[in-house]
């Protein structure tokens, strides 16, 4: 579904991504791991069009998408959430998701009909599946950090993506919230058949959900393989995990 080949991106001479390779098959759950500054978020920005690569290729469903504007990448079927909460603060939880649904249906140019009656059922369904239906009427800025992170995922689901990219979906969450988000991701993958690509620092979570793991270091891909092989890989232990204990999940 997604194939990234020899991707490179520099900022003022600093190579943030210096040869990233990634392959995501349909319905697969792929995790990207690596120490801080490894280039994971930059890689996601490059895939979703927020940044244009200097070199390399990104193919989605066989078509090149490198350098496309973010809204065009989304319309091709890639949704994403952000590492730092990135929602619509002054709008209600319901409208946060509704915007994404309206955009997917191409109804954002409707000027004269009230939006309040539109796409309600689908929006409520998404909120229910994310566990936010009880907070639908709340202004987003009043939500807890954990709820806002889940809302991130709910907004991305509004675009009905084929590939969902999650940038540290559980960052800053309590253990209970992390467990709930993990369950949500499992449901999305197993029940809805969604393809997931995510990066995360919580190794326990990564090894419990990912079908395959790609490891990045200093902008480069060291390996992409099954959790067992990644765990056993000497280069990964040396470069990132720092011994057997860290990846014993």
């Amino acid at each position: 579904m997604l194939r990234v080949t020899d991707l490179e991106k520099s900022f003022d001479g600093f190579k943030a991504v210096a040869g990233a390779n990634l392959h995501v098959a349909p319905s697969e759950v792929v995790a990207v791991i690596g120490p801080n500054g490894a280039g994971k978020t930059t890689l996601f920005h490059l895939i979703t069009g927020q940044l244009a690569p200097d070199r390399g290729q990104i193919l989605f469903k066989g078509e090149p998408i490198a350098g496309l504007a973010p809204h065009k990448v989304c319309r091709r079927g890639i949704g994403r959430s952000y590492q730092v909460v990135n929602v619509f603060d002054r709008l209600t939880v319901l409208d946060n998701v509704r915007i994404a649904v309206l955009a997917r249906e191409g109804r954002t140019w409707n000027l004269l009909r009230p939006a309040s009656g539109m796409c309600r059922d689908e929006t409520v369904n998404i909120l229910e599946s994310a566990g936010l239906a009880g907070k639908a009427g709340r202004i987003c800025a009043t939500l807890s950090h954990g709820d806002r992170k889940v809302l991130e995922i709910a907004i991305a689901l509004g675009s009905r993506p084929e590939l969902l990219i999650l940038d540290e979906p559980t960052a800053g969450m309590s253990p209970e919230e992390t467990a709930a988000t993990l369950k949500l991701m499992q449901r999305l993958s197993q029940e809805m058949g969604l393809t997931l690509l995510f990066c995360e620092h919580d190794m326990e979570m990564v090894f419990s959900i990912a079908d395959r793991i790609m490891v990045m270091q200093q902008g480069r891909t060291i390996i992409q393989d099954t959790p067992e092989k990644v765990r056993a890989d000497k280069r990964v232990r040396e470069a990132y995990l720092g011994g057997g204990d860290t990846c014993s999940a």
Binding site: A69, P70, H71, F88, I99, N110, L111, A156
Partner: protein, 317 residues
């Protein structure tokens, strides 16, 4: 059901307000009708600015240029072309929209502050052309004694016209801010990056918003011509843009009727203070300072917040 009854309530309130404003034409003396007409024209202008400022998050620093172009377009058609007046009334907002489109194409891709700065530059360019082109625009003298159609040429006629046009324009703008486009626009205000990530073409929506705002500023310009019977370059000078910006902030830039309220306060204050001193801008400066410190969300913004807090308390109890 709940939404339907709320809709009926809103429509009833709007119809009641419209009737009330029209009935005022029968009882108010000429001066007050003139003052109210001016408030409506200025309020419509401020509301059109707020369409992109409060609801769209665009730093539209030179909105009055669209007001001025609309007014000049009507004035020139009425004084120089011999065309029927209704053509002038239609052409004025369209001319403002075209300018909005041209300026938007040049500015809309820029980040917030640069967007505002380039807009001031381009708007000042238009102002300079109008100010210097004596043979066509009358230069700094402007155009006076504009032959407005008889039916709306009296103070009562102009007032009724202002009420009807303002009501129709506000109704359309209210529909726009409540529509999917309006919701998308609010999303762009809050978070353009996220909007792009859910498939929204932010630039195209911002450009469309600017054209719409310019259109209604042009409509407000026609009201000014109808009420005053004259136009002058100050209508598109940047100080007026600043003044209407303050109206939006004062009334409440995240509310729909805030700018109209802000316009009423400023126009009345200017009229009253103008009787005693020519240093009106000193008072405006004071208003701005007080606003920043005590009413950052404007008068209606504070009232709305209070009402929401009251609602929550009641629900909590």
């Amino acid at each position: 059901m709940k939404a339907q009854s709320a809709g009926i309530r809103k429509t009833g309130a709007a119809a009641g307000a419209l009737t009330g404003f029209l009935l005022l034409a029968l009882v108010l003396p000429r001066f007050y009708l003139y003052l109210l007409s001016l408030i409506l024209a200025t309020g419509l202008l401020a509301t059109s600015l707020n369409l992109v400022l409060g609801f769209g998050g665009m730093y539209q620093f030179h909105h009055s240029v669209f007001y001025g172009v609309g007014a000049y377009c009507l004035a020139l058609i009425l004084t120089r072309s011999g065309l029927p007046a209704w053509i002038g009334y239609l052409a004025a907002p369209l001319a403002a929209s075209v300018l909005g489109l041209v300026m938007g194409l040049l500015t809309v891709r820029l980040s917030k502050l640069y967007f505002g700065m380039l807009q001031i530059s381009l708007g000042s360019l238009v102002w300079a052309i109008v100010y210097r082109w004596y043979s066509f625009t009358g230069g700094d003298d402007g155009i006076h004694g504009i032959p407005v159609p008889e039916l709306i040429g009296t103070s009562t006629g102009a007032y009724v016209f202002a009420v009807l046009v303002t009501a129709a324009s506000l109704a359309v703008m209210y529909c726009i801010v409540s529509s999917p486009f309006g919701m998308t626009f609010a999303g762009i205000r809050d978070n353009p990056e996220r909007c792009r990530a859910v498939g929204i073409d932010v630039t195209a929506h911002q450009l469309a918003g600017q054209v719409l705002a310019a259109f209604f500023a042009g409509v407000a310009g026609t009201l000014f011509v109808t009420v005053e019977g004259s136009v002058f370059p100050d209508m598109m000078f940047w100080t007026l843009s600043l003044e209407i910006l303050i109206m939006c902030l004062l009334g409440g830039w995240f509310t729909f009727f805030g700018p109209m309220l802000g316009a009423a306060i400023i126009v009345m204050l200017r009229t009253v203070v103008g009787i005693y001193t020519e240093y009106w801008t000193l008072v405006l400066g004071l208003v701005l300072i007080l606003l920043i410190f005590f009413l950052p969300e404007g008068v209606l913004g504070i009232l709305q917040k209070g009402r929401q807090a009251g609602g929550k308390d009641a629900a909590g109890n």
